[in-house]
């Protein structure tokens, strides 16, 4: 089980949550499990809900109707745009860095 890294894109809980929600709505526990399985990063419940609160406040993520005691969250249109923008920027930085490393 990986722990949250202290630096790099995987250290950003908001980015991890947005990426996790990209394929459909999930509740908090499912987001934690998905991030842990897919990326190998363990988000603490406090960290997870701090990030979810911020994302909901910024309208990047929206809660859906409650199912049981858990409430699913979905990516909003603004959230999808923000995620795509950030991932594209990261892709450009990664491509530039790798290209230049190969020429050294």
């Amino acid at each position: 089980m990986g722990r949250k890294p202290s630096s790099g894109p995987a250290s950003d809980p908001e980015l991890l949550i947005l990426a996790s929600l990209a394929d459909g709505p999930k509740h908090g526990y499912a987001i934690m499990a998905d991030v842990e399985q897919s990326i190998g990063v363990t988000l603490g419940p406090g960290t997870l809900y701090t990030a979810i609160t911020r994302l909901v406040d910024r309208k990047l993520v929206a809660p859906e109707a409650v199912s049981g005691r858990q409430r699913p969250y979905r990516l909003t249109r603004a959230g999808a745009e923000a995620l795509e923008e950030r991932l594209s920027a990261m892709k450009r930085v990664a491509a530039l860095g790798l290209r230049r490393l190969r020429t050294v």
């Binding site: 509740h27 908090g28 526990y29 934690m32 603490g44 419940p45 406090g46 960290t47 997870l48 809900y49 701090t50 979810i52 609160t53 049981g68 005691r69 858990q70 409430r71």
Partner: protein, 198 residues
């Protein structure tokens, strides 16, 4: 209630009430459905403190501002400034914190009640409790000084000029803000009532 549920409920108390209303059940569900380690407990506590920092309660904001007024009188002000604490002239409490006994602080308590009701649409007693909490925050420098004098850490003469020339009892210093708090319960309620009425 099992020990685990009690611990989860305790951890959730680290979060502001309005946050708990929105997300508390979900977080509690996660915490009760997986092993609760020290690392997870620390993570939840840190999350609670971050939430409290993001949206401080009106009582906390006004309490800290009032605390700064009391503290500035206590620590920075020259001896010629008005006394921080003064004799109440009654049996209990024997001391009053001057700022908390001033007219302006009544307005602060009214604002606290008004603001609390405006923000949380809460019950009137909750606005009253907020004003009491603000008073305890505001009076905490006096309580702390009393405690330090009682423990022998601080020289009693430290409080002498701050009390207008007499040496106040450290116990009276610790009790003064607590004894002052109940009256502000009613001012807080009045402020919340004014918000509903006007």
């Amino acid at each position: 209630m099992s020990a685990r549920r009690f611990l989860v409920a305790l951890l959730l108390r680290a979060y502001p009430q309005e946050w708990r209303r929105e997300y508390g059940d979900e977080l509690a569900d996660i915490l009760t459905s997986r092993p609760l380690s020290v690392r997870i407990a620390a993570d939840v506590l840190a999350g609670g403190l971050r939430q409290r920092g993001r949206s401080p309660h009106p009582a906390t904001i006004l309490g800290v501002l009032s605390l700064l007024v009391v503290l500035s009188q206590f620590v920075l002000a020259p001896a010629s400034w008005p006394a921080v604490v003064r004799s109440s002239g009654i049996t209990f409490p024997t001391l009053r914190v001057s700022f908390l006994a001033s007219e302006i602080y009544i307005y602060v308590a009214l604002i606290c009640g008004y603001w609390t009701e405006r923000r949380f649409k809460c019950s009137l007693p909750r606005a009253g409790v907020a004003a009491m909490r603000m008073t305890l925050i505001a009076g905490s420098p006096v309580m702390l000084a009393g405690l330090l004098i009682a423990l022998g850490v601080l020289d009693p003469s430290f409080a002498e000029w701050r009390a207008g020339g007499f040496v106040p009892s450290p116990i009276a210093m610790m009790l003064a803000p607590i004894a002052a708090a109940p009256q502000f319960y009613f001012w807080g309620i009045f402020g919340a009532w004014a918000k509903r009425r006007f």
